[in-house]
Symmetry: C2
Subunit: 339 residues, 2 copies
Amino acid sequence: MVLVTGAGIDTKLLAPLEERHNLKVLHLPGPLDEARLGDHLRRHVRAYLHGGEERATGGVLRKAGALKVIAFVGVGYENFIDVPTADELNIAVTNTPGAATDAVAAFTVGQIINANWLIPHHLGPPVPGWKNPGEMPHELGARRVGILGMGANGRRIAEILCDGFHATVTYHSRTRRADFERKRKGRLCYRGSVSELAEVSDILVVMVPETDETRSMIDSSVIDLMPRGSVIVNTARPAIVDPYALYAGLRDERVRMAVFDGFYDPDSDIGSKLRRDFGDRLLVTGHIASHTQETMNRMITQAVASIDNYLTNGTDQYEVGNRRDKCGEAPRVTCGQSS
Amino acid sequence: MVLVTGAGIDTKLLAPLEERHNLKVLHLPGPLDEARLGDHLRRHVRAYLHGGEERATGGVLRKAGALKVIAFVGVGYENFIDVPTADELNIAVTNTPGAATDAVAAFTVGQIINANWLIPHHLGPPVPGWKNPGEMPHELGARRVGILGMGANGRRIAEILCDGFHATVTYHSRTRRADFERKRKGRLCYRGSVSELAEVSDILVVMVPETDETRSMIDSSVIDLMPRGSVIVNTARPAIVDPYALYAGLRDERVRMAVFDGFYDPDSDIGSKLRRDFGDRLLVTGHIASHTQETMNRMITQAVASIDNYLTNGTDQYEVGNRRDKCGEAPRVTCGQSS
């Protein structure tokens, strides 16, 4: 059996796994808690296409005795799959890099415009509601845009803003992209640290993967350096921005608006306080930036190919983590036997 | 006295008129009906900076015995000022071309993304609400974008979409822009008629001024040719799109979403029917596309300079209409004396 999770998955794309590996498809489109996920994985699931918002914790994975491979739909798997435990259990984990870049970049640019202009707040009224000129938005070209992270998504956002909108963009990333900068002819500038970037960012776009180093990277020490009335656009993972620091930033009006695609745990105190106290200054969507028909089909096709590769050859180019027999050479370890 | 209308006007920018022409500033930020506007214009108003949504009809202008010049903030003055009557009364009318291009283009691109992705519908819910893959938006790069009108605004939108988003755009306008096309290297294609443009536009951007020729240009004969499930983005004047044709297009699902910045008269039957029956498929804002601080300041500074020029020299480069003594040579005709 192959377990498929997430709304908006076209299960017809799973056909190669049915035909070539004789796997029955079980599609669970709705939200899944740990107990229900565990119950399903226990039942002869050999492959798991993770397209939802559920967390495949270590505890859950230990119940999945027949599971050989998890294909994550997207790139930010760290928060959804306990990869160290999967490594330990010798379950392969793959992801789908590059497939969502155009969608994520266009969505992010749309949300930059929404947050800058407050378009969603102005839908409906027949005449503008400005009480004084200072309430009006600034032009995008008059805002300093900062991008944290220059991976595929960050670069695509920079391209759209520099080449299309003729904006001047500053960025910080571990790797400086000198060639990419040169092509933007002075429109793209580098800063050596997150703090230096924050100081010059009226709009700060967060576009780094979630890792131990990036979690809470945008904390109070960073937000306090941002210009008054700035906007944070986080279409990466929520946890990159420390929620307590965000709360303080919104309260002190240092942060005027914040954009998230996926938010903090709604059951957490700070998550619900943020929504309650500053709901009208948050533009929060439910992790939909990569949800276009084309991107989803591209990601699922790629994830299905990864499962197929793994089940056929024991390897796949998009595998992540550090399984012991990643090269297909070491013996298969079954659940509970590993060190 | 100089009458200034419209919300979000920084009246400090009127200082040159107070200093150089000894004009007292009367600022009326709220909505104005014809009767109230007439009452105010009757009272020694020599100059009128039109920054609101009110209509300076022929009847109103005939009451304005002392009025010499109207400076319209923006370009689409046709619907707000009865220029033929102003010509007849020898009242100069000016506008502010070019000042709003960057703002209107960025706003329009934001609304293209909003309408394509339905972002405003997805603000709030913690998980995506797609019930099946077909509900998901298409990627912008997978949509055929058509632009009607290649003036300054249309060209800027095309630049952003072609150069930034790498989209392929088709356009129609009275004047073909061969050089501009060539620079886009095959990403920008021309069609010889509105109908031919409609046939290939999943997203149709309307960006022509309102004139007798363009009013209701997008009628049923055009909408019926559009691909099923298309989007109309009208950030120009509402009347370019025939409201009855739009109603039928939404009802038949030929049109999936429609964007307007400024809408049909809310008191009209068809205006209220559209909102009642298809409110969730309309993204309507109250004529805010040019409402950024920078654009407003640029437009008002330009409008104030036009009033100053006219009162000093009897001419201004941004004058529109056909006054008899437009060159400052013929005698000044006072209200009621003209033919």
